[in-house]
Subunit: 739 residues, 2 copies
């Protein structure tokens, strides 16, 4: 499901000098480290780019969304593979709600008649595109059923600030149908905000400026979205909770207690439909009303107006709301020493259509690891801890397969799960890492050991070079060149790690390559093998690079003597977030005070063009000084205890004592950061450091309880949440003291 | 000729509080100040918005470029007006070179055939647009004659940095025909840089993203450039020298000694043609080669490529290179006390076609001042100093009418000219000021006395409000709100002040309103009365506001007891420029060192996409530490002497002595800042503080000798120019000591 956003995913830095393979590996002794390196060499030798290409071709041959015959076949195919490689594999099935369209009508009824095509044509250059009977049509899953007619308003990207701008223009969307561009937020935010503002329907389209001919030559000539391409996708309000909307907090087993669909708090009430820029053009071109603000204008060849006015559309959608079986393939190799410590690795297998890139490119790399591990086991090797490799179903509609499995096995996972390592779409370019900051050392070391297929330096060096060039100031460039660790970005949402880290506090990583694999195939029928091997990873060598990276992570976590968790990195990250919150609050206070002064001095009335009759902004409540000291005190404690924990850990390595108890404590430490009551208005999310943003979706909000309360100017809640987060941080500090 | 660029022209700031009319006026006593205010009230009462509208309609009724029957008629009309108002007026005629097109052919010969229209259609909504026999066709004056065929390369805006980017893509324009977008520099820079890089021809077009439907509804529905609109304009290399290319430094009188045209150093050697986006579209769409860099892409509905390749064009242009008479109308009212001190006010009268906005809107406001002054004289009032009101011809091809007059009368002007006050296009919005910083107090006081027609606050307050809202940070906003003086921007080029200030050192001002008058009519047949009264200044009240502002400036300078020059403001401006030079040099040093380090560490090779085969940048020479101390020492002297001069001036006012000698010294002081040898490689430009940029054109470079040497990394010249400028500043300091 995740669309790799290069700029955010690839923020990782490091020293610039030829990096020799590490002499030892953190968490291993010289002896066990040498053994592990030898194991990794054997592992690497068992990986095949060609086979990854074949797997991608095979698993993307037919459409395979959740509940489809193709989807079932893919799950069974994966199961058979695991079995053939000697894994203990099974399918765990959940019964999950998944709507498919029965009716989709969009027509402009005024000022002229236009009936939207709502169809992506098959192309002879794309051999799997011509399977209309098996393809899901273009739609947004979890749109409400609806039949509405109304005037159209163009709302830019459909974010809260866009509605503020509309208000200044004197435009209200109440009773209107909004049309929003894809981009700048997760798609589900757009209809949610539209609904909050009283819109009766929402159309989302891909503007060629963001995703089409402005970016580059269009498919099939080039990789970018052609005029008929449509981005399908979920608009479940996942920031409330992901997974089956009917079974929050519990597994969607056959007999689970289910909510009434119309009561599910993460489902919208208005109809929504995604369309191509071919279909959007007549609607947008017919709009009158004010000219759209400068930054709102897209790449279509006319002057963008906001509406409303004579342009009316009729939108009718109707869905088949059925429970469907979601097939999670779960494969195990039992740990020789610690069978009840699980190193979990996962990638989804369901796609919106053929999904060669999303998710099969990541799935194929994961399967390649599993294949190699199977071979290693056949030669007599065994992991110390249990490896659990997972192929999730129903990720696309809302991370459902993984979430139901995690909810179903929650208690056991909080006991046994050492780490969850995720991947999803993968392509040519630079390594991107998101995850738990305590794993920074682990992934930095691995990134220095894996070679970039194109340049033959380490993937660490290549990422560092990219970050150095991308940095804007000489100061930032120098810093990028000098950095010795890889940057681990905070986790938002958009792939299957969410329930592991944000619901259960299980340390997680999300790994993938990208940045040289741009295109417009995302969630369309053109996400195909033909597209992938032309534009994404033609030689499949970045598939191998992902296998090497994620495979090393799994194997090192499975075999480590002392688990390589270093909470000093987590402290640093958390401390940075708090500093950022404090400076953002100060900025907001200064900006608010100045802005109020400007408003009260009538400055807007004098600066605005009188002809435009813009609404003068209202004075906002002043930003109070916030008591951040509980967070600062908690962080001071955390700093001490993480330093102490690190000493304990090092001593344990030096003394070569039995690390079992320490390890068990280490991998469960992050659970201390959970707040039992969860975030305000979304109790499913319990991690106090990371969550997807309530109004950004995939985009992370760090220390979300405090940060979003500040953003919403809810000062009472800011203080409450400062305390909640401080307690969580103190809990971790105290917990680590006991190591 | 000048196109008002709102963002740069309208950077002016001031305190925010209701401003009462000043009690006194700087340079006047309480008594004379009260008289002057009464005079200004009478003056205001004699101004008529309706008559300004009529003048615009009358003078823009027919095309009236230099050398045309319409142009002669306009000059004679203006002369007659002055005479009817009692002015001593005459026409001074110069014989100036001005090329008009005989042949204009542009055709794509491969991969398909397209013959460019090169024609703006008449519109029924624009009553003066249908005069094809009298309209100059669409062309760039001073293109060389030429007949070339070649492959096409798209060069973005055609600036030096665009060619650096092309080089990194491995693309050379040698022997090619380049196509560049209008914008981001004065147009003449584009063919000059193309020629420097070996191009054989240059096409310039208006992209709809910068000037067309992306900006707003197109003409005649809205104000913006329609697909057929073309920007005519001069591409003389005015940054070498403006005026008649055949007579640099001397007046183009009938018997003047003339250069051979082919030897004129400010004329290009390659053919150039401007076209519409309708004509550009087939050429650009046919280009292959790499996809254009992100920021290069325009608003046409296809993927922009750079070329070269199969796309070839044939460009043929041929001109009638004739001397034509340029008619400068010069009108005088003799000063009662100081007839040999001249307050000069000017605006050009020639247009590319009908020119209702450019230049007639400014010309009509100036004539309205002249009309009112004529009436005042009839009631018995006389200015103390001589008023010289000028209507310049041949500004459009290269500031020719004003430059020839200034060169012709140079010695006399350096003796007698107290100030030159310029205007040009004028419209609805905010007051913009450029000029000599010693006049900051004068123009600040005036801006607080003139009322904004729409909001009824002072034009100072309105401009300040606009600047406050436009400032980006809370800090900048606060600063904008607190400012008590109007910002006087440094003068580049683009209108008739250039020869006064930059060649002779005569204190100058350039005044105009704008910012709420955007459109796409510039230098097209649609710059008409019909366009003007719909989109520019529908009630002509900003014409009145300009008359009030520029008229007050002329009258106060004509009547002041002690001329209101305050060189402390000039010191502050110069000191700011030097600080900026020093910090720019430091930044450049740091950036160069870091960039070289990055290049030597092979970072580009690792960060670039190997598929794109980008050229790695070369290491640059390190930036040495520059000895700026001569400038700092000179400025320290200037600070002292300007403070002292201010005390002398105040004492003279308090003592009410005879100010005549002081005044004469004051108005000639700025001439001390001239360097006799002029700027390197362009000796015509003698002012050491201000010049148009060698590679920006209209855009100013402050302390240009030093700044451009730094930008060009010519360290030897930096040191030389530091000394040249230091001497000029010291000269001024010493001069002011003698007050």
């Amino acid at each position: 499901m995740r669309k790799i956003v290069v700029s955010s995913l690839l923020v990782m830095l490091g020293v610039y000098q030829p990096v020799l393979a590490q002499k030892s590996i953190t968490g291993f002794t010289d002896k066990t480290g040498t053994d592990q390196k030898q194991l990794e060499q054997k592992f690497d030798a068992l990986l095949s780019a060609q086979r990854i290409g074949q797997t991608i071709k095979e698993l993307s041959a037919v459409p395979h969304h959740v509940g489809s015959p193709g989807g079932k076949a893919v799950a069974e195919n994966i199961l058979a593979k695991y079995k053939s490689w000697g894994w203990d594999a099974k399918i765990e099935t959940y019964q999950v709600l998944f709507p498919t369209p029965k009716t989709r009508v969009l027509e402009m009824t005024s000022p002229t008649i236009y009936k939207a095509l709502l169809k992506e044509p098959a192309l002879k250059e794309d051999r799997t595109s011509d399977q209309p009977a098996d393809q899901l049509p273009t739609y947004n899953a979890w749109s409400a059923d609806g039949d509405v007619t109304g005037e159209v308003v163009f709302v830019n990207y459909g974010l809260p600030e866009d509605y503020e701008k509309l208000e200044s223009l004197g435009i209200n969307v109440k009773g209107k149908i909004v049309i929003a561009k894809y981009g700048h937020s997760w798609r589900g935010i757009k209809p949610k905000v539209a609904q909050e503002h009283g819109a009766i329907g929402c159309i989302i389209y891909s503007d060629p400026k963001d995703d089409g001919f402005v970016q580059g030559d269009v498919y099939p000539k080039g990789a970018y979205k052609n005029e008929y391409g449509v981005q399908r996708g979920s608009i479940m309000d996942m920031v409330i909770y992901p997974g089956d909307p009917l079974t929050p907090n519990i597994g969607a087993t056959e007999n689970a207690k289910r909510l009434d669909r119309l009561e599910a708090p993460n489902l919208l009430k208005i109809p929504v439909l995604p369309i191509s820029y071919h279909d959007a053009q007549p609607l947008l071109e017919a709009l009158d009303g004010p000219v759209a603000p400068d930054s709102w204008r897209g790449g279509l060849p006319f002057t963008y107006h906001v509406g409303p006015g004579k342009t009316k559309v009729h939108l009718k959608v109707d869905f088949d709301w059925k429970l469907r079986p979601a097939y999670d393939v779960i494969a195990r190799i039992k740990g020789s020493q610690f069978p009840d410590e699980w190193v979990i690795r996962g990638n989804h297998h369901d796609a919106w259509v053929n999904g060669a890139n999303d998710p099969i490119s990541g799935q194929a790399a994961l399967l390649e690891e599993a294949q190699a591990i199977g071979q290693l086991v056949k030669t007599g090797w065994k992991p110390k801890r249990t490896l659990v490799y997972c192929a999730w179903d129903a990720e696309e509609p809302g991370l459902i397969g993984s979430t139901e499995w995690v909810e179903d096995h929650a208690a056991e996972l909080q006991q046994k799960a050492v780490v969850y390592i995720n991947s999803d779409s993968n392509g040519r370019g630079f390594l991107g890492v998101e995850g738990s900051h305590a794993l920074e050392t682990l992934i930095t070391e691995i990134s220095k050991d894996v070679e970039d297929p194109q340049t033959k330096v380490s993937v660490f060096d290549r990422a560092k070079a990219s970050n150095t060039i991308a940095a804007s100031s000489a100061k930032d460039k120098k810093e990028a060149m000098g950095k010795t660790t890889i940057t681990v970005n905070a986790m938002g949402s958009g792939s299957d790690y969410s329930s592991f880290i944000q619901h259960l506090g299980i340390p997680s990583l999300d790994l993938g390559f990208g940045g040289e694999n741009e295109g417009g195939e995302y969630h369309s029928i053109y996400d195909s093998y033909d597209d992938y091997q032309r534009f994404k990873d033609p030689t499949f060598e970045y598939g191998v690079a992902l296998s090497k990276t994620a495979g090393r992570a799994a194997l090192r976590m499975a075999d480590a003597d002392a688990l390589p968790f270093d909470f000093r990195s987590l402290y640093k990250a958390a401390n940075g977030y708090v500093k950022d919150l404090m400076s953002k609050t100060d900025q907001m206070r200064e900006t608010t005070a100045t802005e109020n002064e400007i408003i009260l001095a009538n400055t807007y009335a004098l600066a605005n063009d009188p002809k435009e009759k813009l609404k003068i902004p209202s004075v906002k409540t002043e930003v109070p000084y916030i008591d951040f000291s509980p967070l600062q005190n908690a962080l001071a404690e955390l700093e001490k205890s993480t330093n102490r924990a690190s000493e304990v850990w090092s001593k344990s390595m030096v003394d070569n004592t039995d690390h079992a108890a320490m390890n068990k404590a280490l991998y469960r430490a992050e659970q201390q950061l959970l707040a039992p009551q969860g975030l305000p208005r979304r109790s499913w999310y319990k991690h106090t450091l990371y969550a997807p943003g309530f109004y950004t979706g995939y985009g992370v909000k760090t220390i979300p309880g405090v940060r979003e309360a500040i953003e919403q100017r809810n000062w009472k809640e800011v203080t409450e949440q400062v305390n909640v987060v401080s307690i969580a941080i103190l809990n971790l500090a105290v917990y680590l003291q006991k190591l």
